[in-house]
Amino acid sequence: MKILVPVKRVVDYNVKVRVKADGSGVDIANVKMSMNPFDEIAVEEAVRLKEAGVATEVVAVSCGVAACQETLRAAMAIGADRGILVETDVELQPLAVAKLLKAVADKEGPTLVICGKQAIDDDANQTGQMLAALAGWPQATFASKLTLSDGKASVMREIDGGLETLSIQLPAVVTTDLRLNEPRYATLPNIMKAKKKPLDTVKPAELGVDVAPRLSTLKVAEPPKRSAGVRVADVAQLVDKLKNEAKVL
Protein backbone atom coordinates (compact mmCIF):
# COMPACT_ATOMS: atom_id res chain seq x y z
CA MET A 1 0.00 0.00 0.00
CA LYS A 2 1.03 3.51 -0.81
CA ILE A 3 1.11 6.42 1.64
CA LEU A 4 1.00 10.02 0.48
CA VAL A 5 2.51 12.64 2.79
CA PRO A 6 2.02 16.34 2.04
CA VAL A 7 4.85 18.53 3.34
CA LYS A 8 4.89 22.31 3.64
CA ARG A 9 7.84 24.66 3.56
CA VAL A 10 7.46 27.14 6.42
CA VAL A 11 9.52 29.58 8.45
CA ASP A 12 11.60 27.48 10.86
CA TYR A 13 9.95 27.09 14.24
CA ASN A 14 12.92 28.69 16.02
CA VAL A 15 12.60 31.94 14.09
CA LYS A 16 10.65 34.74 15.69
CA VAL A 17 8.95 36.42 12.77
CA ARG A 18 8.69 40.19 12.39
CA VAL A 19 5.78 42.05 10.94
CA LYS A 20 6.78 44.25 8.00
CA ALA A 21 6.67 47.97 8.65
CA ASP A 22 4.06 48.53 5.92
CA GLY A 23 1.72 45.94 7.47
CA SER A 24 1.59 43.86 4.30
CA GLY A 25 2.76 40.64 5.93
CA VAL A 26 5.59 39.12 7.92
CA ASP A 27 9.15 39.48 6.76
CA ILE A 28 10.38 36.12 5.51
CA ALA A 29 13.26 37.36 3.36
CA ASN A 30 16.55 35.75 4.45
CA VAL A 31 14.81 33.73 7.13
CA LYS A 32 15.55 30.05 7.69
CA MET A 33 12.89 27.81 6.14
CA SER A 34 12.18 24.23 7.20
CA MET A 35 9.62 21.49 6.91
CA ASN A 36 6.50 22.17 9.00
CA PRO A 37 7.16 20.19 12.23
CA PHE A 38 3.80 18.39 12.13
CA ASP A 39 4.58 17.27 8.56
CA GLU A 40 7.89 15.88 9.75
CA ILE A 41 5.95 13.74 12.22
CA ALA A 42 3.74 12.64 9.30
CA VAL A 43 6.74 11.60 7.20
CA GLU A 44 8.24 9.75 10.15
CA GLU A 45 5.01 7.84 10.75
CA ALA A 46 4.72 6.85 7.09
CA VAL A 47 8.35 5.71 6.97
CA ARG A 48 7.87 3.65 10.13
CA LEU A 49 4.86 1.97 8.53
CA LYS A 50 7.04 1.12 5.56
CA GLU A 51 9.82 -0.18 7.78
CA ALA A 52 7.25 -2.33 9.59
CA GLY A 53 6.24 -3.87 6.26
CA VAL A 54 2.75 -2.34 6.35
CA ALA A 55 3.33 0.24 3.60
CA THR A 56 5.18 -0.39 0.35
CA GLU A 57 5.84 3.14 -0.83
CA VAL A 58 5.94 6.61 0.74
CA VAL A 59 5.41 9.54 -1.60
CA ALA A 60 6.00 13.11 -0.37
CA VAL A 61 4.12 15.99 -2.03
CA SER A 62 4.73 19.68 -1.64
CA CYS A 63 2.77 22.55 -3.16
CA GLY A 64 4.41 25.92 -3.67
CA VAL A 65 7.50 27.65 -5.00
CA ALA A 66 10.47 25.86 -6.59
CA ALA A 67 12.36 25.97 -3.27
CA CYS A 68 9.89 23.41 -1.88
CA GLN A 69 12.19 20.89 -3.56
CA GLU A 70 14.38 21.26 -0.46
CA THR A 71 11.46 20.28 1.72
CA LEU A 72 10.82 17.22 -0.46
CA ARG A 73 14.52 16.28 -0.24
CA ALA A 74 14.26 16.56 3.55
CA ALA A 75 11.27 14.19 3.49
CA MET A 76 13.22 11.77 1.30
CA ALA A 77 16.17 11.98 3.70
CA ILE A 78 13.85 10.75 6.46
CA GLY A 79 12.86 7.88 4.18
CA ALA A 80 10.19 8.89 1.66
CA ASP A 81 10.77 7.06 -1.65
CA ARG A 82 10.06 9.90 -4.05
CA GLY A 83 8.71 13.40 -4.25
CA ILE A 84 6.14 15.37 -6.23
CA LEU A 85 6.33 19.15 -6.43
CA VAL A 86 3.21 20.99 -7.49
CA GLU A 87 4.96 24.17 -8.49
CA THR A 88 3.40 27.61 -8.43
CA ASP A 89 4.31 31.11 -7.30
CA VAL A 90 0.70 31.89 -6.41
CA GLU A 91 0.01 32.25 -2.67
CA LEU A 92 -1.69 28.95 -1.81
CA GLN A 93 -4.51 28.76 0.72
CA PRO A 94 -5.69 25.53 2.38
CA LEU A 95 -8.65 24.94 0.04
CA ALA A 96 -6.39 25.23 -3.02
CA VAL A 97 -3.82 22.90 -1.48
CA ALA A 98 -6.54 20.37 -0.63
CA LYS A 99 -7.71 20.46 -4.26
CA LEU A 100 -4.17 19.97 -5.55
CA LEU A 101 -3.66 17.06 -3.16
CA LYS A 102 -6.97 15.55 -4.23
CA ALA A 103 -5.79 15.68 -7.85
CA VAL A 104 -2.46 14.08 -6.92
CA ALA A 105 -4.27 11.42 -4.88
CA ASP A 106 -6.52 10.65 -7.85
CA LYS A 107 -3.41 9.90 -9.90
CA GLU A 108 -1.42 8.09 -7.24
CA GLY A 109 -4.19 6.09 -5.58
CA PRO A 110 -2.82 6.06 -2.00
CA THR A 111 -4.49 3.99 0.72
CA LEU A 112 -3.59 6.54 3.33
CA VAL A 113 -2.69 10.22 3.40
CA ILE A 114 -0.89 11.43 6.51
CA CYS A 115 -0.82 15.22 6.95
CA GLY A 116 0.43 17.49 9.69
CA LYS A 117 -2.50 18.80 11.71
CA GLN A 118 -1.60 22.43 11.07
CA ALA A 119 1.14 24.51 9.54
CA ILE A 120 2.96 26.76 11.97
CA ASP A 121 2.80 29.77 9.65
CA ASP A 122 -0.91 30.31 8.91
CA ASP A 123 -2.07 28.06 11.81
CA ALA A 124 -5.17 27.20 9.73
CA ASN A 125 -5.62 23.52 10.63
CA GLN A 126 -7.75 22.80 7.55
CA THR A 127 -5.96 21.04 4.73
CA GLY A 128 -6.26 17.40 5.85
CA GLN A 129 -9.93 17.73 6.70
CA MET A 130 -10.64 19.50 3.39
CA LEU A 131 -8.81 16.82 1.42
CA ALA A 132 -10.82 14.10 3.20
CA ALA A 133 -14.06 15.91 2.41
CA LEU A 134 -13.19 16.45 -1.26
CA ALA A 135 -12.24 12.78 -1.63
CA GLY A 136 -15.28 11.58 0.31
CA TRP A 137 -12.99 9.78 2.76
CA PRO A 138 -13.11 9.47 6.53
CA GLN A 139 -10.60 11.39 8.61
CA ALA A 140 -8.87 11.06 11.94
CA THR A 141 -7.29 14.33 12.99
CA PHE A 142 -4.87 15.06 15.86
CA ALA A 143 -3.62 11.46 15.95
CA SER A 144 -1.43 10.29 18.80
CA LYS A 145 -1.44 6.60 17.79
CA LEU A 146 -2.07 4.90 14.45
CA THR A 147 -2.54 1.19 13.73
CA LEU A 148 -3.49 -0.34 10.39
CA SER A 149 -5.14 -3.75 10.06
CA ASP A 150 -7.85 -5.51 8.05
CA GLY A 151 -8.36 -2.61 5.66
CA LYS A 152 -9.06 -0.21 8.49
CA ALA A 153 -7.16 2.31 10.53
CA SER A 154 -7.48 2.51 14.29
CA VAL A 155 -6.53 5.98 15.42
CA MET A 156 -6.21 7.40 18.91
CA ARG A 157 -6.96 11.13 18.76
CA GLU A 158 -6.30 13.98 21.13
CA ILE A 159 -9.57 15.75 21.93
CA ASP A 160 -10.64 18.36 24.48
CA GLY A 161 -10.87 16.55 27.79
CA GLY A 162 -8.91 13.44 26.85
CA LEU A 163 -8.51 10.89 24.09
CA GLU A 164 -10.77 8.99 21.72
CA THR A 165 -10.19 6.04 19.44
CA LEU A 166 -11.80 5.84 16.01
CA SER A 167 -11.96 2.95 13.60
CA ILE A 168 -12.05 4.36 10.08
CA GLN A 169 -12.29 2.80 6.66
CA LEU A 170 -9.46 3.15 4.17
CA PRO A 171 -8.58 5.11 2.16
CA ALA A 172 -8.50 7.87 4.73
CA VAL A 173 -6.73 11.01 5.87
CA VAL A 174 -4.93 11.06 9.22
CA THR A 175 -3.46 14.25 10.65
CA THR A 176 -0.65 14.16 13.19
CA ASP A 177 -0.45 15.57 16.67
CA LEU A 178 2.76 16.13 18.58
CA ARG A 179 2.82 12.87 20.45
CA LEU A 180 2.42 10.50 17.50
CA ASN A 181 6.18 9.97 17.27
CA GLU A 182 9.52 11.71 17.52
CA PRO A 183 10.97 12.22 14.05
CA ARG A 184 14.49 10.91 13.50
CA TYR A 185 17.40 13.11 12.51
CA ALA A 186 18.32 12.51 8.90
CA THR A 187 21.82 11.02 8.65
CA LEU A 188 24.37 12.34 6.17
CA PRO A 189 24.30 9.14 4.04
CA ASN A 190 20.52 9.38 3.87
CA ILE A 191 20.70 13.07 2.95
CA MET A 192 23.08 12.11 0.12
CA LYS A 193 20.84 9.25 -0.97
CA ALA A 194 17.80 11.54 -0.98
CA LYS A 195 19.44 13.70 -3.64
CA LYS A 196 19.23 10.81 -6.09
CA LYS A 197 15.61 9.88 -5.42
CA PRO A 198 13.05 10.76 -8.12
CA LEU A 199 11.36 14.15 -7.89
CA ASP A 200 8.63 15.03 -10.39
CA THR A 201 7.26 18.52 -10.96
CA VAL A 202 3.74 19.37 -12.13
CA LYS A 203 1.84 22.64 -12.46
CA PRO A 204 -1.60 23.29 -10.95
CA ALA A 205 -3.00 23.84 -14.48
CA GLU A 206 -1.89 20.33 -15.50
CA LEU A 207 -3.90 19.03 -12.56
CA GLY A 208 -6.89 21.12 -13.63
CA VAL A 209 -7.01 23.04 -10.35
CA ASP A 210 -7.80 26.73 -9.94
CA VAL A 211 -5.62 27.91 -7.06
CA ALA A 212 -6.71 31.54 -6.92
CA PRO A 213 -6.85 32.74 -3.29
CA ARG A 214 -10.28 33.19 -1.70
CA LEU A 215 -9.14 35.29 1.21
CA SER A 216 -7.30 38.55 0.79
CA THR A 217 -5.06 39.79 3.56
CA LEU A 218 -5.79 43.45 4.20
CA LYS A 219 -3.30 44.00 6.98
CA VAL A 220 -0.85 42.21 9.24
CA ALA A 221 -0.10 43.79 12.59
CA GLU A 222 1.89 43.12 15.73
CA PRO A 223 -0.28 41.85 18.55
CA PRO A 224 -0.63 44.17 21.54
CA LYS A 225 2.56 43.89 23.58
CA ARG A 226 2.50 42.65 27.10
CA SER A 227 5.05 44.41 29.19
CA ALA A 228 6.96 42.76 31.97
CA GLY A 229 5.54 43.58 35.37
CA VAL A 230 7.28 43.61 38.68
CA ARG A 231 9.27 41.15 40.75
CA VAL A 232 7.78 40.56 44.14
CA ALA A 233 9.97 39.76 47.10
CA ASP A 234 7.96 37.01 48.71
CA VAL A 235 4.67 35.15 48.85
CA ALA A 236 3.08 37.65 51.22
CA GLN A 237 3.74 40.51 48.81
CA LEU A 238 2.42 38.46 45.90
CA VAL A 239 -0.82 37.68 47.68
CA ASP A 240 -1.18 41.33 48.66
CA LYS A 241 -0.70 42.46 45.04
CA LEU A 242 -3.15 39.87 43.71
CA LYS A 243 -5.77 40.87 46.27
CA ASN A 244 -5.40 44.63 46.41
CA GLU A 245 -3.75 45.73 43.16
CA ALA A 246 -4.92 43.22 40.53
CA LYS A 247 -8.03 42.26 42.49
CA VAL A 248 -8.11 38.73 41.10
CA LEU A 249 -8.10 36.85 44.41
Binding site: L95, I159, G161, I168, D177, L215, L218, P223
Partner: protein, 309 residues
Protein backbone atom coordinates in the same frame (compact mmCIF):
# COMPACT_ATOMS: atom_id res chain seq x y z
CA UNK B 1 -29.67 35.89 5.79
CA UNK B 2 -29.40 34.33 9.22
CA UNK B 3 -26.24 32.95 10.79
CA UNK B 4 -25.76 29.34 11.84
CA UNK B 5 -23.78 28.35 14.93
CA UNK B 6 -22.84 24.69 15.29
CA UNK B 7 -23.20 23.93 18.99
CA UNK B 8 -20.74 21.84 20.89
CA UNK B 9 -22.56 19.74 23.47
CA UNK B 10 -22.71 16.36 25.18
CA UNK B 11 -26.43 15.82 24.42
CA UNK B 12 -27.32 17.19 27.87
CA UNK B 13 -25.50 20.49 28.20
CA UNK B 14 -23.87 23.02 25.93
CA UNK B 15 -20.09 23.27 26.10
CA UNK B 16 -19.08 26.73 27.25
CA UNK B 17 -17.33 27.60 23.97
CA UNK B 18 -20.72 27.54 22.21
CA UNK B 19 -21.76 30.62 24.20
CA UNK B 20 -18.69 32.59 23.08
CA UNK B 21 -19.38 31.55 19.49
CA UNK B 22 -22.96 32.84 19.76
CA UNK B 23 -21.57 36.22 20.89
CA UNK B 24 -19.33 36.34 17.81
CA UNK B 25 -22.33 35.46 15.63
CA UNK B 26 -24.45 38.22 17.19
CA UNK B 27 -21.78 40.78 16.25
CA UNK B 28 -22.53 40.00 12.60
CA UNK B 29 -25.92 41.63 13.02
CA UNK B 30 -28.42 39.05 11.76
CA UNK B 31 -30.63 36.34 13.27
CA UNK B 32 -28.64 33.60 14.95
CA UNK B 33 -29.71 29.98 14.69
CA UNK B 34 -28.05 27.15 16.60
CA UNK B 35 -27.70 23.60 15.32
CA UNK B 36 -27.72 20.73 17.80
CA UNK B 37 -26.71 17.48 16.12
CA UNK B 38 -26.76 14.61 18.56
CA UNK B 39 -28.61 11.57 19.84
CA UNK B 40 -31.14 12.04 22.62
CA UNK B 41 -30.13 15.68 22.65
CA UNK B 42 -33.42 17.37 23.65
CA UNK B 43 -31.88 18.73 26.87
CA UNK B 44 -29.02 20.35 24.98
CA UNK B 45 -31.53 21.87 22.54
CA UNK B 46 -33.51 23.36 25.43
CA UNK B 47 -30.30 24.82 26.84
CA UNK B 48 -29.53 26.39 23.46
CA UNK B 49 -33.04 27.87 23.24
CA UNK B 50 -32.37 29.79 26.48
CA UNK B 51 -29.21 31.48 25.21
CA UNK B 52 -29.79 35.21 24.85
CA UNK B 53 -29.96 36.36 21.24
CA UNK B 54 -30.63 32.98 19.65
CA UNK B 55 -33.82 33.04 17.57
CA UNK B 56 -34.09 29.42 16.46
CA UNK B 57 -32.64 26.05 17.47
CA UNK B 58 -32.43 23.31 14.86
CA UNK B 59 -32.26 19.78 16.25
CA UNK B 60 -31.09 16.78 14.27
CA UNK B 61 -31.56 13.85 16.63
CA UNK B 62 -30.34 10.54 15.24
CA UNK B 63 -28.27 7.59 16.42
CA UNK B 64 -25.51 8.35 13.94
CA UNK B 65 -24.89 11.74 15.58
CA UNK B 66 -24.23 10.12 18.96
CA UNK B 67 -20.45 10.45 18.62
CA UNK B 68 -20.81 13.69 16.59
CA UNK B 69 -18.33 12.36 14.05
CA UNK B 70 -16.94 14.94 11.63
CA UNK B 71 -18.07 13.13 8.48
CA UNK B 72 -21.74 12.83 9.40
CA UNK B 73 -22.10 16.24 11.05
CA UNK B 74 -20.39 17.98 8.11
CA UNK B 75 -22.75 16.23 5.72
CA UNK B 76 -25.71 17.58 7.70
CA UNK B 77 -24.32 21.12 7.88
CA UNK B 78 -23.53 21.14 4.17
CA UNK B 79 -27.21 20.58 3.46
CA UNK B 80 -28.26 23.48 5.70
CA UNK B 81 -25.55 26.01 4.88
CA UNK B 82 -27.03 27.41 1.65
CA UNK B 83 -29.66 29.23 3.70
CA UNK B 84 -27.05 31.03 5.79
CA UNK B 85 -24.57 33.84 5.22
CA UNK B 86 -22.18 32.56 7.90
CA UNK B 87 -21.55 29.19 9.54
CA UNK B 88 -19.65 29.37 12.84
CA UNK B 89 -18.25 26.79 15.23
CA UNK B 90 -15.98 27.06 18.25
CA UNK B 91 -12.25 26.63 17.46
CA UNK B 92 -12.21 23.67 19.85
CA UNK B 93 -10.84 20.28 18.89
CA UNK B 94 -14.32 19.27 17.70
CA UNK B 95 -14.93 22.43 15.67
CA UNK B 96 -11.47 22.37 14.11
CA UNK B 97 -12.00 18.76 13.17
CA UNK B 98 -15.41 19.11 11.57
CA UNK B 99 -15.78 22.57 10.03
CA UNK B 100 -13.11 22.43 7.29
CA UNK B 101 -15.06 19.52 5.80
CA UNK B 102 -18.08 21.79 5.50
CA UNK B 103 -16.04 24.56 3.87
CA UNK B 104 -14.48 22.18 1.35
CA UNK B 105 -17.85 20.69 0.43
CA UNK B 106 -19.26 24.18 -0.10
CA UNK B 107 -16.14 25.14 -2.08
CA UNK B 108 -15.42 28.10 0.20
CA UNK B 109 -12.41 29.08 2.29
CA UNK B 110 -12.53 28.67 6.04
CA UNK B 111 -11.43 31.50 8.29
CA UNK B 112 -9.87 29.77 11.29
CA UNK B 113 -9.70 30.88 14.88
CA UNK B 114 -10.97 34.44 14.55
CA UNK B 115 -10.33 36.87 17.41
CA UNK B 116 -12.07 39.89 15.95
CA UNK B 117 -14.80 40.91 13.51
CA UNK B 118 -14.24 44.09 11.45
CA UNK B 119 -17.15 43.65 9.06
CA UNK B 120 -19.44 40.85 7.89
CA UNK B 121 -16.71 39.71 5.48
CA UNK B 122 -13.59 40.87 7.35
CA UNK B 123 -12.03 39.13 10.31
CA UNK B 124 -8.91 39.24 12.47
CA UNK B 125 -7.03 36.03 13.19
CA UNK B 126 -3.68 35.18 14.73
CA UNK B 127 -0.91 33.68 12.58
CA UNK B 128 2.60 32.48 13.47
CA UNK B 129 1.53 31.31 16.92
CA UNK B 130 -0.01 34.67 17.70
CA UNK B 131 3.13 36.63 16.83
CA UNK B 132 1.12 38.49 14.21
CA UNK B 133 -2.52 39.33 13.66
CA UNK B 134 -3.86 39.15 10.11
CA UNK B 135 -6.97 40.99 8.95
CA UNK B 136 -8.51 38.96 6.13
CA UNK B 137 -11.46 39.50 3.84
CA UNK B 138 -13.45 36.64 2.36
CA UNK B 139 -14.88 36.86 -1.14
CA UNK B 140 -16.92 33.65 -0.74
CA UNK B 141 -20.73 33.64 -0.66
CA UNK B 142 -20.82 31.71 2.65
CA UNK B 143 -18.34 32.53 5.39
CA UNK B 144 -17.27 29.43 7.28
CA UNK B 145 -15.54 30.43 10.52
CA UNK B 146 -14.11 28.95 13.69
CA UNK B 147 -14.11 31.25 16.69
CA UNK B 148 -11.45 31.54 19.40
CA UNK B 149 -13.63 31.43 22.48
CA UNK B 150 -11.31 33.50 24.69
CA UNK B 151 -11.69 36.48 22.34
CA UNK B 152 -15.46 36.80 22.83
CA UNK B 153 -17.57 37.05 25.98
CA UNK B 154 -19.98 34.21 26.74
CA UNK B 155 -23.58 34.92 25.71
CA UNK B 156 -25.95 35.13 28.66
CA UNK B 157 -29.25 33.43 29.40
CA UNK B 158 -32.72 34.81 28.87
CA UNK B 159 -33.57 33.73 25.34
CA UNK B 160 -36.67 31.83 24.34
CA UNK B 161 -35.91 30.52 20.87
CA UNK B 162 -38.17 28.20 18.92
CA UNK B 163 -36.91 24.63 18.76
CA UNK B 164 -37.39 22.94 15.40
CA UNK B 165 -36.65 19.29 14.62
CA UNK B 166 -34.96 18.79 11.27
CA UNK B 167 -34.37 15.57 9.37
CA UNK B 168 -31.02 13.87 9.75
CA UNK B 169 -28.73 13.52 6.74
CA UNK B 170 -27.67 10.08 5.58
CA UNK B 171 -25.31 8.02 7.76
CA UNK B 172 -22.09 7.87 5.71
CA UNK B 173 -20.81 4.95 7.79
CA UNK B 174 -17.17 5.93 7.24
CA UNK B 175 -16.05 6.07 10.83
CA UNK B 176 -16.90 4.39 14.13
CA UNK B 177 -16.10 5.56 17.64
CA UNK B 178 -14.37 2.75 19.54
CA UNK B 179 -14.04 4.55 22.85
CA UNK B 180 -13.26 7.72 24.74
CA UNK B 181 -11.03 8.25 27.75
CA UNK B 182 -12.20 11.49 29.23
CA UNK B 183 -10.23 12.84 32.16
CA UNK B 184 -12.61 13.07 35.11
CA UNK B 185 -12.11 16.07 37.27
CA UNK B 186 -14.10 18.05 39.78
CA UNK B 187 -12.14 21.14 38.77
CA UNK B 188 -13.37 23.71 36.26
CA UNK B 189 -12.44 22.99 32.64
CA UNK B 190 -9.38 24.78 31.32
CA UNK B 191 -11.19 26.75 28.63
CA UNK B 192 -13.71 28.25 31.04
CA UNK B 193 -11.73 28.63 34.28
CA UNK B 194 -11.35 31.98 36.05
CA UNK B 195 -8.03 30.91 37.53
CA UNK B 196 -5.51 28.45 36.09
CA UNK B 197 -2.54 26.93 37.89
CA UNK B 198 -0.12 25.58 35.32
CA UNK B 199 3.03 23.51 35.76
CA UNK B 200 6.08 23.02 33.60
CA UNK B 201 9.22 20.99 33.41
CA UNK B 202 10.49 22.74 36.53
CA UNK B 203 8.17 20.78 38.81
CA UNK B 204 10.35 17.74 38.07
CA UNK B 205 7.91 14.80 37.97
CA UNK B 206 4.29 13.78 37.71
CA UNK B 207 4.22 13.11 41.46
CA UNK B 208 5.56 16.54 42.22
CA UNK B 209 3.11 18.09 39.80
CA UNK B 210 0.15 16.69 41.71
CA UNK B 211 1.61 17.15 45.19
CA UNK B 212 2.66 20.72 44.49
CA UNK B 213 -0.09 22.16 42.31
CA UNK B 214 -3.28 20.40 43.38
CA UNK B 215 -3.47 21.95 46.87
CA UNK B 216 -3.03 25.41 45.35
CA UNK B 217 -5.62 24.73 42.64
CA UNK B 218 -8.04 23.39 45.25
CA UNK B 219 -7.58 26.45 47.42
CA UNK B 220 -8.20 28.83 44.50
CA UNK B 221 -10.89 26.81 42.77
CA UNK B 222 -8.59 26.78 39.76
CA UNK B 223 -8.22 24.55 36.71
CA UNK B 224 -4.90 22.77 36.17
CA UNK B 225 -2.81 23.25 33.06
CA UNK B 226 0.66 22.35 31.86
CA UNK B 227 3.33 23.29 29.38
CA UNK B 228 4.12 21.08 26.41
CA UNK B 229 7.39 20.06 28.09
CA UNK B 230 5.49 18.75 31.12
CA UNK B 231 3.06 16.83 28.91
CA UNK B 232 5.84 15.40 26.74
CA UNK B 233 7.67 14.30 29.90
CA UNK B 234 4.53 12.39 30.91
CA UNK B 235 3.73 14.37 34.08
CA UNK B 236 0.11 14.90 33.00
CA UNK B 237 -2.15 13.88 30.08
CA UNK B 238 -2.24 15.77 26.79
CA UNK B 239 -5.49 17.58 27.52
CA UNK B 240 -3.70 19.67 30.18
CA UNK B 241 -1.54 21.32 27.55
CA UNK B 242 -1.75 25.09 27.17
CA UNK B 243 -0.08 26.54 24.08
CA UNK B 244 -0.15 27.11 20.36
CA UNK B 245 -1.00 23.49 19.69
CA UNK B 246 -2.84 22.82 22.92
CA UNK B 247 -5.54 24.90 24.54
CA UNK B 248 -5.70 28.66 24.18
CA UNK B 249 -6.77 30.16 27.50
CA UNK B 250 -7.40 33.64 28.86
CA UNK B 251 -8.36 33.41 32.53
CA UNK B 252 -8.45 36.27 35.03
CA UNK B 253 -5.37 34.81 36.70
CA UNK B 254 -2.76 32.44 35.24
CA UNK B 255 -0.14 31.10 37.64
CA UNK B 256 2.82 29.58 35.77
CA UNK B 257 4.89 27.34 38.01
CA UNK B 258 8.25 26.08 36.77
CA UNK B 259 7.40 27.10 33.20
CA UNK B 260 10.25 28.72 31.26
CA UNK B 261 7.95 30.43 28.75
CA UNK B 262 8.63 29.02 25.29
CA UNK B 263 7.00 31.01 22.47
CA UNK B 264 4.54 28.23 21.79
CA UNK B 265 3.40 28.23 25.44
CA UNK B 266 3.07 32.02 25.56
CA UNK B 267 0.87 31.81 22.45
CA UNK B 268 -1.64 29.87 24.52
CA UNK B 269 -1.86 32.08 27.62
CA UNK B 270 -0.60 35.59 26.95
CA UNK B 271 -4.13 37.01 26.78
CA UNK B 272 -4.69 36.13 30.44
CA UNK B 273 -5.66 39.18 32.48
CA UNK B 274 -3.02 38.70 35.16
CA UNK B 275 -0.01 36.40 34.85
CA UNK B 276 2.05 35.24 37.80
CA UNK B 277 5.34 33.42 37.17
CA UNK B 278 7.10 31.38 39.82
CA UNK B 279 10.46 30.09 38.66
CA UNK B 280 13.88 29.47 40.10
CA UNK B 281 15.59 30.91 37.00
CA UNK B 282 15.45 34.73 37.11
CA UNK B 283 16.29 34.84 33.37
CA UNK B 284 13.32 32.66 32.31
CA UNK B 285 11.43 34.30 29.41
CA UNK B 286 8.14 33.83 31.25
CA UNK B 287 9.09 36.83 33.42
CA UNK B 288 8.93 39.06 30.33
CA UNK B 289 5.17 38.61 30.14
CA UNK B 290 4.38 38.13 33.83
CA UNK B 291 2.68 40.88 35.80
CA UNK B 292 4.13 39.49 39.00
CA UNK B 293 7.28 37.41 39.12
CA UNK B 294 8.55 35.43 42.06
CA UNK B 295 12.03 33.92 41.84
CA UNK B 296 12.89 31.02 44.09
CA UNK B 297 12.35 27.42 45.04
CA UNK B 298 8.96 26.19 43.81
CA UNK B 299 8.76 23.61 46.53
CA UNK B 300 8.79 26.30 49.21
CA UNK B 301 6.93 29.06 47.40
CA UNK B 302 3.95 27.15 46.02
CA UNK B 303 2.89 25.54 49.33
CA UNK B 304 3.37 28.91 51.03
CA UNK B 305 1.14 30.52 48.41
CA UNK B 306 -1.50 27.83 48.88
CA UNK B 307 -1.41 28.62 52.60
CA UNK B 308 -1.53 32.39 52.25
CA UNK B 309 -3.99 32.78 49.38
Amino acid sequence: MPILVIAEHDNQNLKAATLNTVTAALKLGADVHVLIAGAGCAAAAQAAAKVAGVTKVLVADAAHYEAQGAENVAELVKGLARDYSHVLAPASSAGKNMLPRVAAQLDVAQISDIVGIEAADTFVRPIYAGNALATVRSADPIKVITVRSTAFEAAGEGGAAAVEAIPAAADLGLSALVGREITKSARPELGAARIIVSGGRGVGSGENYHALLEPLADKLGAALGASRAAVDAGYVPNDYQVGQTGKIVAPQLYIAVGISGAIQHLAGMKDSKVIVAINKDPEAPIFQVADYGLVGDLFELVPALAQAA
